[in-house]
Symmetry: C2
Subunit: 308 residues, 2 copies
């Protein structure tokens, strides 16, 4: 029998990679043959976490059905964010903290979604519910995921449960959450080795609202202007993506991780909704988003509402 | 602020009613103002459970949006099985043990589905996870739901977790699961006060597979032939339902609760799939289903597969 593959979303972020590794560890402890895999390149922030806690990158798998008959999804549930051939395998479990949409099964399954800031906050509960101890290096990865998804506890998606889980995990991992966290975010905000193509695609997600398809890409930065000086070149790439993927809207968000604000470039035939949806002027396709750091909580619902 | 309504599916069964009452109790203990409601008439089996443990029927609510802005779904997730206006309220939690389909939210929520035989098996875990004690009368209702959904532990949907939960709940409720269980199932199989219309509609669920819409109604009986002698009259009512609801297939299942077999009447333009799907001859629209007792595990997936 083939292993059960544990996978996060496309364009994996730190939560997707660390959830896959830690949940696969838990399932193995519980007697299942489970292997964490990734659907795409690991980003600099995640690499920093993997290096710190001495893990290799999970294996890259692009076609899951070639490898397994059963999979577990972590940190996502929407079909279009998963493996392209996800329809050809059985999803036996989902552990997630996003809205639920475009998800359907033939049979009952274990589906655990909670409105918390990070998937590993839920995975920590699952370790406890199953009486499995979290090893120190796994705790480090799980902590990294919470720091990443919550922008060091500053995102509005961050809940008390995330803060409490992070404190427990930092204790087990033997690191200081604040100082390690800032190093982790800075590693993620190091854009020096990124092409412009990388910026608009590495952490990008597609969504549907009514008949509209939109995409929101996000990068964290220490110096936002360093990215924005290349706006014209970015717009060319975004326009290509709009045509190729038949998008009605493409939003590219640069988030200032030290000051917790964002600036976005918006293009596409439904970019007209942005000004009123976010109550902020769009000038030369650029919009300031004060206090906005969370794609999931502060951007996607606002666009979905405006397009519906 | 209005109460949060806790609701099971249309044509409520014992699990839907008892899950709504017990989960609303738990949420109230946890500080939420929650009220259990029902979307339809309570059946004889459920009435027996409510009477035994001294509960009133939950209030009948047909339009949830008039009453509340937020709801919790138990024992179902598919839109067409829920309140007709479910799209007008926010679903903040789901606790269920069915496949997931036709479910979508704008925001993250608490969604807890597990592949066990009954919703109250999961609710018992939630009492424990939140350190709330199960009162004896609530335990009686939760036990009733497990007995009902598992046909006294004989259905293939019944898991070890259900058996274990039932034993715990029987202890708390102070009843003998076997003897109480048989009385409960017999109360449900008392069809003497049922019209033919009741038989094909009270515990009936609609499903979609590809472009096909089908419905499966089920009744439990002690004497199957008592129902089947009225086959011709039942067929008239079923044909009406097929026309009114634009069904491609209507299956009416009579389950012998003492011997754990079923007999079904099948009508509709896609009734042609039944013979090969269930590997059993269809004679005069009637098919024998030896060992089949579970709509969810032994009927719906088989039809879905055949129609897809
Ligand atoms: Mn996440
Ligand atoms: Mn049920």
């Amino acid at each position: 029998m083939s292993n059960v593959l544990v996978l996060g979303h496309k364009n994996p972020d730190t939560d997707s990679i660390c959830s896959a590794i830690s949940y696969a560890y838990l399932k193995n402890e519980m007697g299942m043959l489970a292997e964490p895999v990734r659907l795409g390149e690991v980003n600099n922030e995640t690499l920093f976490a993997l290096n710190t806690f001495k893990f290799d990158e999970p294996r890259l798998v692009t076609q899951v059905a070639k490898e397994a008959t059963q999979v577990i999804l972590v940190d996502h549930n929407e079909r279009q964010q998963s493996a392209d051939d996800i329809g050809d395998v059985q999803v036996i479990e989902v552990v997630d903290h996003h809205r639920i949409a475009n998800f359907e099964t033939m049979d009952p399954l274990y589906f655990r979604a909670e409105p918390v800031g990070c998937t590993t906050t839920i995975i920590l509960k699952l370790f406890k519910e199953n009486n499995v101890e979290v090893p120190s290096n796994i705790a480090g990865l799980m902590l990294s995921a919470i720091i990443s998804d919550s922008l060091l506890f500053k995102s509005p998606t961050c809940t008390e449960q995330d803060v409490k889980a992070a404190a427990e995990l930092a204790e087990i991992a033997g690191v200081d959450a604040q100082s390690y966290g800032l190093d982790l975010l800075k590693a993620g905000a190091d854009l020096s080795n990124k092409t412009l193509e990388d910026l608009i695609s590495l952490d990008s997600k597609e969504f549907e609202a009514g008949d509209h398809r939109f995409e929101v890409a996000q990068v964290n930065a220490i110096d936002v202007e360093e990215v924005m000086v290349r706006q014209k070149e970015l717009e060319v790439l975004m326009t290509n993506a709009i045509l190729t993927k038949k998008l009605n809207l493409f939003m590219f968000v640069v988030t200032d991780i030290l000051n917790n604000n964002s600036v976005a470039i918006v293009l596409g035939k439904r970019a007209d909704i942005i000004e009123s949806a976010f109550k902020s002027s769009v000038i030369d396709h650029r919009v300031l988003l004060p206090g906005v750091v969370s794609r999931k909580k502060q951007i996607v619902p606002v666009i979905t509402e405006a397009l519906s």
